[in-house]
Amino acid sequence: MNALRTAVADGVTITRRNVLKIRRAPDLLGGVITLPIVIVLLFAYVFGSMIELPGMSYAEYLIPGIFVQSIVMSGQITGYTLTQDLQKGVFDRFRTLPMAPSAVLVGQTVGDIVMNVTSIATMALMGLVVGWRVHTAPHEAALGFLLLLLFAYAFSWVTATVALALRKPEVFNNIVTTVTMPLVFLSNAYVDTTRLPGPLQAVAEWNPVSVVIQAVRELFGNTSAAMPAPEAWPLRHAVPAAVLWSLLLLVVFAPLATRLYGRAVSR
């Protein structure tokens, strides 16, 4: 078998393992389904009743932000699962097998797409319940969902890298929560970035989370002409910028995670 075919076959084997694990671990999948439901309801009704936006309902503005927030949160599962496998010696077994070294991380991240699809579908349904609508052509909406999945996949590699660097599940959880909270809240997920003070505004406008949110708002038609238009470059070209951000994360973190995986037990 040549190297590429081996890599693909092994990747498929590990992906199948991870999908089986997701199906059998109701706690993981439960978190991915119930948390978005709770968040959509809380934000739509608590904030939605207080925040007035010119020309559109808060639910319409909010749901794309919640999509991306959930992606950032369920992306942590990728890293968490890796730290657990590391702890249990599963990787030791894998690394004594004649398999492609790339397969473990590829299988993990690809398997986690299942989780993200479930989470995004749940949120879309909840969004429809609280008044979120798609106003664009089907192909644009489809592109919106694809963009969400691309960003989710890229973000999985980020958490994988952090996990393999930190190695311990508890440490990973602490650090990753500390990092992702500002990532989500220093964005346009809940508030209009033009109202943030100067330096914070710059951070929020270049934040990949903001860029992806702006892109899917445009692709789903959840924008209003009455809202102040963002001036920062990434937000004015949100769709290509979101794709670029996702690819950049992949290009940086996929090789980094792969290298860390090689070293994870070699010490």
């Binding site: 081996t6 084997t13 702890q87 030791d92 077994r93 097998l97 004649p98």
Partner: protein, 326 residues
């Protein structure tokens, strides 16, 4: 026939701590080689280098003719490894675990499935084959982990403390399984801290301490090195100990050992059973009452302690500390 496993001058350092300090090994094909040593002696580090999980800082090693560093991918196709932490997936069933390993050895789907069933039957896990591993007992998990190491029928098998943490019954069960394997001609490198395990399973034992081999031989040879038979006498009162010592002094072929707390006295003797008869005669003539008397060989425990000293208080090697804290 070339040896199945060789190691020459392996060195591995963790910062200032030297885990391996010139480890040499040679394991003939079809034999069981036991690496015996206290925690931190370098057993696990050796096993991890030989299974390609670690790279040595110096020295070289081969397994099944392949170099552990330069030929790692081909080497991996020829070995099976089972560790002290049963590396099985909790959410997968026993059958799914083994099928996955088969696919990763590139046996193909059908062969992987067939092999999984064979091994589940052989390891007495057929009843639990389609249950998630989560519900398995410790012994069942170890058996499954060991089965995983056998999926590709590898000529060389590494068992790193295969029974650590198991209850005595599960341990005995696993020993039976390993004995059968060996009868089939597989070369096995076994690391253990249980002397009984090495005594029972290994053809050759290497006693390891401070990262190198300090004694090598069969269990019998190691015991002979420590001296031959000994007569052991237990008495009922402390006052009798001195009487026994005086009575048996002429028979002693070496230094007598008196364990006052256990009311027990050990005398190295030269003539085996004849010495025991002589000892009992002398004790009867002196009128000393004994609680128990017998002839025995040195145990591997005694060999081990005399070779390594009491090292219980010393720190474990970093790899092991790391593992314990995980």
């Amino acid at each position: 026939m070339p040896p199945a496993i060789t190691a020459e001058g392996l060195v591995k350092k963790y910062g200032d701590v030297v885990a391996l300090d010139g480890m040499d090994l040679s394991v003939p094909e079809g034999t069981v080689f036991g690496l015996l040593g206290p925690n931190g002696a370098g057993k696990t580090t050796t096993a991890r280098i030989l299974t390609t999980l670690l790279k040595p800082d110096a020295g070289r090693a081969t397994v099944a003719g392949f170099d552990v560093v330069t030929d790692a991918p081909r080497l991996r196709a020829r070995i099976g490894a089972s560790g002290q932490y049963a590396a099985v997936d909790d959410h997968l069933t026993g059958a799914e675990n083994l099928e996955m390993v088969g696919r990763l050895y590139h046996l193909g789907t059908r062969r992987s499935r067939q092999r999984a069933r064979e091994l589940l039957e052989r390891f007495d896990l057929t009843g639990a084959a389609d249950r998630p591993v989560q519900g398995y007992s410790g012994g069942m998990r170890r058996r499954l982990d060991l089965a995983g190491a056998l999926v590709a029928d590898p000529p060389v098998l590494f068992l790193d403390e295969p029974t650590t943490g198991l209850d005595p019954r599960a341990r005995a069960g696993l020993w039976d399984v390993i004995s059968e394997l060996v009868a089939g001609g597989t070369t096995v490198l076994l690391t253990t801290q249980y002397l009984e395990e090495a005594d029972r399973l290994a053809d050759t034992i290497a006693v390891v301490d401070h990262g190198r081999v300090i004694a090598l031989g069969t269990a019998d040879e190691l015991k002979d090195d420590l001296g031959g038979d000994r007569v052991e006498v237990a008495v009922t009162g402390a006052a009798d100990l001195e009487a026994v010592r005086r009575a048996l002094a002429p028979l002693a072929a070496g230094e007598m050992r008196v364990d006052a707390a256990a009311l027990r006295l050990t005398v190295p003797v030269a003539d085996g059973a004849a010495s025991l008869t002589a000892a009992l005669g002398r004790l009867a003539a002196e009128g000393v009452t004994v609680r128990d008397a017998g002839l025995r060989r040195p145990t591997l425990d005694e060999v081990f302690l005399s070779l390594t000293g009491n090292r219980a208080a010393e720190p474990a090697e970093p790899a092991e500390i790391e593992e314990y804290s995980r």
